[in-house]
């Protein structure tokens, strides 16, 4: 099998056109997409960073005093009253909002400055802030009264957003909306739980998108497209190596191999291993060059690269299995239509579904699901989980899919490959 492997690698190295497709093309695309879309991906927060004005009309301490008095009037037993007040003092809505706005992770995105109403309005007009968040008078008292005692009309935050920075002000609007929704939701759960844990604990407020920004490593465009292009062009390796099989068959070389008393499975194995090795090398070269030239990844982080190599190896095996299937089909049907259709159409569709061109998060759920079952899509997910330093348990799903695809593709290729005497 080593003889077949060596031969395929040697032929590939000598074929400059194929080398240009497998290595040159993805590198050029990484450069183009990396520079062109550097502001779009979440990793680059500079273009989204904003200053906002916070107008504090509420007196939190006075609100808490009033709420304590209200509790006393309600006839609630003293121990319960004390418990609720302790919790309210620690985690009043106003405090939680301040916490969100001053969150370390969010600081890159939002700089909140406390101003009076007049200064805030002037700042908005001068376009030095993109939004004014007004915490109205009696906010603490009204919010606590509604949340805990279900009395009164509650309170609402007032948000005035600028037109000159639509994207930033929209993002800030979402942050505030997420905060309010989260607060209301947890209060509702607390009520359903008969008043236990009436208020969310400080530091545990779920604020959706803001939370996710603060807990993961952001991805920049060069990182994303290094991964995206590498997983896409890995599929071309399968087309290239199986394309060689077609030439071998039409030029009688395959028959010559059969005449040497080698079982076709040995030949198929050679193709699969050659594709695996080429894919692995292709990834190593692309990641290394992208890190060296575009600074996509830190080359000195040993453990990080270990994970990258592991994911690469699993995808490379899957590409090897895919190559085996394409080779077997080429041998069975005796034409290269399958390989041509695969490289000319299927790879592009897989690349789109798998998120090589653009993240699939904004696409319909069905597209995301389909993409997750493509070898490139599953590998892209695994790489993103690893690069963003997310929960490692999340790696099992994409890597499991890649392993399953590998087994299925290999089994199919063994079933399809013509046996001896049928060449």
């Amino acid at each position: 099998m080593f003889t077949f492997l060596k031969k395929d690698i040697l032929i590939l190295i000598r074929d400059r056109t194929e080398l240009a497709i497998l290595l040159g093309m993805p590198f050029i695309l990484i450069a183009i997409l990396g520079f062109a879309l550097s502001g779009v991906l979440s990793g680059n927060t500079e273009v989204l960073s904003m200053e906002v004005a916070v107008v504090q009309e509420d007196d939190e301490q006075q609100g808490l005093v009033r709420f304590e008095e209200k509790l006393a009037d309600s006839g609630m037993p003293a121990p319960a009253r004390q418990g609720i007040m302790a919790s309210a003092a620690e985690s009043s809505p106003a405090s939680l909002l301040q916490e969100v706005l001053n969150d370390e992770g969010l600081k890159e995105l939002v700089v909140a400055t406390e101003m009076d109403a007049t200064s805030a309005k002037a700042a908005l007009e001068e376009e030095t802030v993109v939004a004014i968040l007004t915490i109205p008078e009696n906010f603490t008292f009204d919010a606590l009264q509604k949340m805990i005692m279900d009395e009164g009309n509650g309170s609402s935050l007032q948000l005035m957003i600028a037109e000159h920075a639509a994207t930033q002000s929209e993002v800030f609007h979402n942050i505030v909306e997420e905060f309010v929704w989260s607060l209301n939701f947890e209060s509702a759960i607390a009520k359903a739980a008969n008043g236990e844990n009436v208020l969310p604990e400080a530091g545990q407020t779920q604020v959706g998108g803001v939370e996710s920004v603060s807990s993961v490593n952001p991805i920049n465009s060069f990182q994303y497209y290094t991964i995206g292009m590498a997983v896409m062009f890995a599929l071309f390796v399968a087309a290239t190596i199986s394309g060689m099989a077609y030439v071998e068959k039409t030029q009688f070389v395959f028959q010559r191999i059969l005449l040497s008393n080698h079982h076709p499975l040995v030949y198929l194995g050679g193709k699969a291993i050659a594709a695996t090795l080429v894919t692995f090398l292709q990834f190593c070269i692309l990641f290394f060059l992208s890190s060296l030239i575009f600074g996509a990844f830190d080359l000195s982080e040993g453990p990080f690269w270990l994970g990258i190599l592991l994911i690469t190896a699993s995808l490379a095996l899957c590409v090897g299995a895919l190559t085996a299937l394409l080779t077997a089909m080429t041998m069975r049907f005796g034409n290269d239509t399958i390989t041509t259709v695969f490289s000319g159409g299927v790879v592009t569709i897989f690349a789109f579904l798998g998120g090589s061109f653009t993240p699939t998060a904004g696409l319909p759920a069905i597209v995301q699901q389909l993409g997750g079952w493509t070898p490139n899509g599953a590998a892209l997910n695994a790489f993103l989980i690893w690069v963003q330093n997310l929960d490692m348990g999340m790696l099992f799903e994409p890597l499991g899919r890649i392993a399953l695809l590998t087994v299925v593709l290999l089994s199919l290729s063994v079933m399809i490959l013509p046996r001896k005497g049928e060449a």
Partner: protein
């Protein structure tokens, strides 16, 4: 040594070969002649164990190789019509690969490579990439690749197609030496009758999937022993004159050649007078008349009604 018995191959309801029986003795050189589509390549593929026959058998030293092709493959070298080489690799790398897949390694492999290169006269250019070679050089390496494991039997499927006269002559001389000096058993197919006449002891003629004649060159020529060939050289084609000759009962076969007309006549028939009379009627300018004994080409034409390269 090698024989086929009533070989038959049907592809999608169409019979490509039917009842092909032939034999080759050890050290013999046998030609397989036939026009395009006669079934030669299909027959060769079945003998090579690359294609399962629909019916019939292939035997090597009396043992069937249909179910056990390994025995045949050990002693068989095949030179296909295609250049079955890796164009991106050098001649040396190609031979190394084909030697390795036959289980050769180390010194044994190196010796086999150099012997094969010496055989085809390309030792000096072994490191050059195959795609830079001329057609003739590629054909020679194609033969060398089939010789790497020192086969006892070699099947050559039109090994001189599309090459220059010098390379062709080199290949023919090489095959002759392999057969006569090294005792290699050869099954040779070609479109060139002179190649078969030069190299082969016996000839099988195939047409429409069937073997229609076989024997030594003299035996085959004796099919036409009661006949003679007349070559009439003309200054240009004369269709009406040709039609009239075709209609004469005493002429067994008339065919147009590059330079004029070829007639096959019963020996001693006094038909030339009629030919000259017809030429006068049609104002034909005859340049030369040559009376010959029949060649294998004439036998082929007589048997199939077609020229070999039709």
């Amino acid at each position: 040594m090698l024989e086929t018995e009533e070989l038959k191959k049907v592809f999608k309801g169409k019979t490509a070969v039917e009842g092909a029986s032939l034999y080759i003795d050890k050290g013999e050189s046998v030609g397989l002649l036939g026009p395009n589509g006669a079934g030669k390549s299909t027959t060769i593929s079945m003998i090579s164990t690359l294609l399962k026959p629909t019916a019939g058998d292939v035997r090597l030293n009396g043992k069937s190789v249909i179910k056990n092709p390994a025995e045949m493959r050990k002693v068989l070298g095949v030179v296909p019509q295609e250049i079955a080489l890796y164009a991106e690799l050098s001649a040396y790398e190609n031979l190394k690969f084909f030697g390795r897949i036959y289980g050769l390694s180390g010194k044994q492999l190196e010796t086999a490579i150099q012997q094969a290169l010496a055989l085809v006269g390309l030792k000096e250019r072994q490191k050059e990439i195959v795609k830079t070679y001329s057609g003739g050089m590629k054909r020679r390496i194609n033969i060398a690749a089939a010789m790497m494991h020192e086969p006892e039997v070699i099947i050559m499927d039109e090994p001189t197609v599309g090459i220059d006269p010098q390379s062709r002559s080199h290949i023919l001389e090489m095959v002759r030496k392999l057969n006569k000096e090294k005792g290699l058993t050869v099954l040779y197919t070609s479109h060139y009758m002179e190649e078969v006449e030069r190299l082969c002891d016996r000839v099988y003629i195939m047409d429409h999937g069937k073997i229609i004649a076989s024997g030594t060159k003299d035996e085959l020529k004796s099919i036409l022993s009661s006949e003679e060939t007349v070559l009439i050289e003309l200054d240009r084609p004369y269709p009406e004159f040709f039609k009239e000759l075709q209609s004469l009962d005493t002429i067994k076969q008339a065919s147009e050649t590059e330079k004029g007309i070829k007639l096959i006549l019963p020996k001693g028939s006094r038909v030339l007078g009629q030919v000259f009379q017809a030429s006068e009627r049609h104002q034909v300018q005859i340049i030369n008349v040559n009376v010959q004994t029949p060649s294998l080409e004439d036998v082929f034409l007589h048997l199939t009604g077609r020229k070999l390269r039709d």
